[in-house]
């Protein structure tokens, strides 16, 4: 997978999907929801975040509701990857499926807001550009990486259906 480099926005532990996308916005389209992303924990975040940015968080990121729009809204708002000490499994799967790169990194705590990180999933590392610190990240199992590399589950299925018909 290609290397990702982006500016960091830092969050804490147990950021659940009600905080990422509060329920009152669920009835709208993803584009509109993205304008409220992270509103439950940091109001105004949607106006600050930019294309190619990276969210860094503590443990259990994306817990709670299975609402996939939490991952989609982050992606729509420009976030390309989430680096966290651990993920809720549903959010992890949703991220893979919608093309938001989930990076498990137990040392995520040392990364600070506004730093720039370079993420190399295949080599299993996250590098903090400013300090040149190298953190260990988990690489994705090959079965899961295949979905991610296709661009998400819809594109993965499209390729597989194509294979079946040829």
């Amino acid at each position: 997978m290609k290397v990702i480099e982006g500016r960091v926005w830092k969050f804490g532990d147990d950021i659940d999907t009600d905080l990422i996308v509060p329920g009152r916005y669920l009835m709208y389209d993803v584009a509109e929801i993205a304008g409220h992303v992270m509103e439950g924990t940091r109001p105004g975040f949607a106006d600050l975040v930019g294309r190619g940015d990276v969210v860094v968080a503590g443990k259990n990121f994306g817990s709670g509701s299975s609402r996939e729009v939490a991952a989609r809204a982050l992606r729509e708002a420009g976030v390309v990857a989430v680096v966290a000490k651990s993920f809720s499994r549903i959010f992890f799967r949703n991220s893979i499926n919608v093309g938001l790169v989930p990076v498990e990194c137990e040392e995520a705590d040392v990364i600070e807001e506004s730093q720039t990180v370079r993420i190399d999933i295949d080599r299993g590392e996250v590098i903090i550009i400013e300090t040149e610190e190298r953190l260990v990240a988990k690489s994705l199992p090959s079965e899961v990486a295949a979905i991610m590399e296709a661009g998400g589950l819809v594109d993965f299925l499209r390729i597989r259906i194509g294979d079946d018909t040829t």
Binding site: G23, G64, V154, L157
Partner: protein, 422 residues
């Protein structure tokens, strides 16, 4: 080494004789559930994009529970899309406003012991109460299942939660789960399966057991599971369905950990705002007035919960200034409560009866909270803003504790009004 119940179900669905934790397998899904919020409106466009149909409409349950009844035109459109999907793809198991999906699949007899069941909702884990592996996922994962009947799973480690002894009067499965989550933290079982066993589980009704599996979502677990037993079989028998006992864990199965609990030591507890793992005995919460008491959701408005509330409220009135709202988890629960006087007791005590559905729990339906409101609720989550305004506060508790607090106008230990020595 033998296999756990969860491992056996995954092995069977993967078509292999043995699986081990952390392996990834592609599996055949026995049953899939989608609902109005994460279902048709999100999945249909993707199905069309791929030019695919639903792999087996008879293996799909569609439930409109989040936006019923429509509160505005946006919600009405979501429900129209949901109905149209059922028609277009020939899904006969479509329920609108009959109840919350997790309650319906249990009540309507859709599940079977040993099934691999996936649903587009985090509380899908509730279904593990009937001995199946019930897994919550997001919309695109459900698209994959609806299109192909298959998905990938990583085999989870299982933790054995051993509950011995009996819960005291006024103490419930909800108190047990909140206590356990308080001890272990909301990330206490991330990626694990919790298998509940022991004499304390054996004596619980299906309604009460379903709180154990339901709240596995609140401790981060992949799911919860209870091997089928006489109670399970008799649940199906009451539905006119003959089932055999399903799979169970081998005696030499590999558990990651064992968590022992003595049910007799449990007391009524509450989770304080804004974390469901900030749990303390209800008796320790003093001088905490509440303006709202909410009995609702798949976690806390089954028939058993309505009956608990009625037991406390019988012949009494809620405190002045308190609004008590009851949104039954299913039409069947409401119907039973109407036939035996439970509903009458609730209404006479001053309860407002709200429509059946997810309601205010995810901050969608009737009864959402305004700024400054303090609520005690039988639901499962109290993250800031979950039930409405970010400036509201939610205490989580059992139906006993919510009803007793509604009478007192403040958070109380329900045993104080039930005549039970604490």
């Amino acid at each position: 080494m033998g296999m756990t119940l969860a491992e056996k179900i995954i092995a069977r669905a993967a078509g292999v004789t043995k699986v081990s934790p952390d392996e990834i397998h592609w599996v055949d899904v026995d049953l899939a559930m989608i609902h109005d919020s994460g279902g048709p409106r999100r999945i249909w466009p993707m199905l069309d994009e791929l030019g695919l149909r639903v792999w087996d409409p008879d293996r799909v349950i569609l439930v409109a529970d989040h936006y019923v009844p429509a509160q505005d035109t946006n919600a009405a459109k979501i429900l129209q899309t949901t109905r149209a999907f059922a028609t277009e793809f020939g899904i006969s198991s479509f329920y609108e406003a009959e109840g919350i999906a997790h309650t319906l699949v249990v009540e309507k007899g859709h599940l079977r012991p040993g099934m691999l069941y996936v649903g587009g909702d985090s509380h899908t884990c509730t279904g593990g109460v009937l001995g199946c592996l019930a897994l919550g996922m997001g919309s695109t994962d459900l698209l994959g299942v609806l299109a192909t009947g298959r998905t990938w799973l990583r085999v989870p480690h299982t933790i054995r939660v051993n509950i011995d002894g009996s819960l005291g009067r006024g103490v419930t499965a909800k108190d047990f789960m909140l206590t356990m989550i308080g001890e272990r933290g909301m990330a206490g079982a991330v990626y694990r399966v919790l298998e509940f066993i022991g004499s304390g589980v054996a004596e619980m009704s299906v309604d009460e057991r379903s709180v154990l599996t339901n709240m596995c979502a609140e401790i981060g677990a992949k799911t919860g599971v209870i091997a089928s037993d006489e109670t399970t079989i008799s649940h199906f028998k009451d539905l006119g369905i003959q089932v055999d006992e399903g799979p169970s864990s081998d005696s030499d199965a590999g558990y990651l950990q064992s968590w022992p609990f003595d049910a007799s030591e449990m007391v009524p507890v509450v989770a304080r705002p804004h974390r469901h793992d900030d749990v303390v005995p209800a008796a320790d919460v003093v001088n905490t007035p509440i303006g709202r008491a909410y009995i609702g959701a798949c976690t806390g408005a089954k028939y058993a919960d309505l009956a608990m509330a009625a037991e406390v409220l019988k012949g009494r009135r809620v405190a002045s200034g308190v609004i008590l709202q009851v949104a039954p988890a299913s039409a069947a629960a409401l119907s039973r409560a109407m036939s035996d006087g439970t509903a009458e007791t609730l209404v006479e005590a001053g309860a407002q009866l709200l429509s059946t559905g997810c309601g205010a729990c995810p901050g969608l339906g009737s009864g959402v909270l305004g700024p400054g409101e303090v609520c005690i609720s039988t639901t499962s989550r109290n993250t800031r803003g979950r039930m409405g305004s970010p400036d509201s506060k939610v205490y989580l508790a059992s139906a006993y504790t919510v009803a007793a607090s509604a009478l007192a106008g403040e958070v109380v230990d329900p045993r104080s009004v039930m005549g039970v020595p604490a």
